[in-house]
Amino acid sequence: MSNLPAELKYTKDHEWARLEGRVCVVGITTFAQDQLGDVVFLELPKVGTVVKKGDAFGVVESTKAVSELFAPVSGKVVEINQELVDAPDAINSDPYEDGWMVQIEMSEAKEAGELLDAPAYEKYLAEQAH
């Protein structure tokens, strides 16, 4: 089964979220990058952009497919991974560490509790497979 670090939270859009106080670090899951295939392009918002939970905040493209990135929480983008924009293949090789995309300063603290934990996301993946 997919590699799902227990300390992370997940969404049904296959993003992961690492909560560090008020800041939420966001990337895409092993499952998502495997479905996409070789990632060759990443578009991220500018620092300072305000996003709402569920909004498309960026785009990731593989050799064959285009996929939008959805904000797991509402807030302001306070940092983006510029190195990843320049070399997006780290999304395939290291989705949970070097593959982080943006850091969002949360405006709605309660949204953190609405994210899936690893077992719940794993169950969701299993359901989708059937």
Binding site: G37, D38, V40, F41, E43, V59, E61, S62, T63, K64, V66
Partner: protein, 358 residues
């Protein structure tokens, strides 16, 4: 669910990710598009292309009959030679792009796209006698700089001596095949036509014996990026029955000096009037990847459309093909591609994108 080639089980066993392509369940990738692409550019890869169709013209007058239905000139094709050509409608629109294999003037095999199996046969049959053999053949493409060494080591005859775009009937490890030095990747290589029953055996043999050469099974994803680096047109993407071969940049397979062929009158008229649009290669100079159907802009005016686009694994930059007004279809012309509502800078470049030392 779609049709399955004789190699369907092999693809699934190898972990191929199956997708629908022109009604066929085909592997889009196994290990990864870029890895497979690089295997073909630097070593060797194999592709299942059994979804392609085969139509046979046979008997007295076969060559003359077929020559009236296609754009290229079979009189200039020798026995044992393959010729890239096109089948047009009366308006000059492309019904399909094809490869004709000339065994002799009385026996020719036409290789058609998967989407052309029924449609091409109907178009041919309306005007001539021919035979549908699409279900009687499997095809495996062996492509890459080491393809000749690999196939040569398995063949019961001299396949390395088969020239480019030539073919011979032979045996690969005892399996009867048409061994054609053709392909769709820009690399040296072969397309092996065999009976469907023999396809899994041939596929496994190539993979096993190809291991020391670093062979990889390759899917449609790599096939697409390889062909696009060479600016080879893909039917359904870069051309259809609403464009002529002149517009598609395939004038070199149109022989207007032939006495006649279906669509000739329309092409002559178009040539006399002058082309309005032309397929051109481009690179994006801004950030992004152009995809099929994205609008082409110049000064905020829509002037054309992207027909193919990808990130070139070899050149490591975004490339594509687009229909442009004739006046813009010249190298160094700048324009924009609209990507998700934003104009991204692009420039016309000569094709093929990938140029090799001879």
């Amino acid at each position: 669910m779609g049709d399955k080639t004789p190699l369907y089980e092999s693809h699934v066993a190898l972990g191929g990710r199956m997708v629908d392509f022109a009604g066929w369940q085909m592997p889009v990738q196994y290990s990864g598009v870029i890895e497979e692409h690089e295997a073909v550019r630097s070593r060797v890869g194999i592709f299942d292309v059994s979804h392609m169709g085969e139509i046979i013209f046979e008997g007295p007058g076969a060559l003359e009959t077929l020559n009236l239905l296609v754009t290229n000139d079979l009189a200039r094709c020798e026995n044992g030679q393959a010729q890239y050509s096109a089948l047009l409608n009366d308006d000059g629109g492309i019904i399909d792009d094809i490869v004709v294999y000339r065994f002799s003037a009385t026996r020719l095999l036409v290789c058609v796209n998967a989407s052309g199996r029924q449609k091409d046969f109907a178009a041919f049959s309306a005007r001539a006698k021919c035979r549908q053999e699409s279900d009687d053949w499997a095809q495996i493409a062996v492509q890459g700089p080491l393809a000749a060494e690999l196939v040569g080591s398995l063949a019961d005859s001299d396949v390395a001596g088969i020239g480019t775009y030539r073919f011979a009937e032979g045996k690969i490890h005892g399996i009867p095949c048409i061994v054609a030095r053709t392909g769709y990747t820009g690399e040296d290589g072969f397309e092996l036509f065999c009976r469907p029953d023999n396809a899994p055996k041939l596929w496994d043999l190539l993979l096993t014996r190809g291991r020391p050469y670093g062979i990889l099974p390759c899917g449609l994803g790599a096939r697409d990026s390889l062909r696009l680096e060479m600016a080879y047109r893909l039917y359904g993407n870069d051309m259809d029955d609403r464009v002529t071969p002149l517009e598609a940049g395939l004038g070199w397979i149109v022989k207007l000096d032939k006495p006649d062929f279906v669509g000739k009158r329309a092409l002559v008229a178009q040539k006399t009037a002058g082309l309005k649009r032309k397929l051109a290669g481009f690179k994006l100079t801004g950030r992004g990847i152009a995809r099929h159907g994205y609008p082409v802009l110049q000064g905020n005016v829509r002037v054309g459309e992207v027909t193919s686009g990808t990130f070139s694994p070899t050149l490591k930059e975004p490339i594509g093909l687009a229909y442009l007004p004739n006046a813009l279809a010249e190298p160094d012309t700048e324009f924009q591609v609209e990507i998700r509502g934003k104009p991204i800078d692009a420039v016309v470049v000569p094709t093929p994108f990938l140029t090799r030392e001879p």
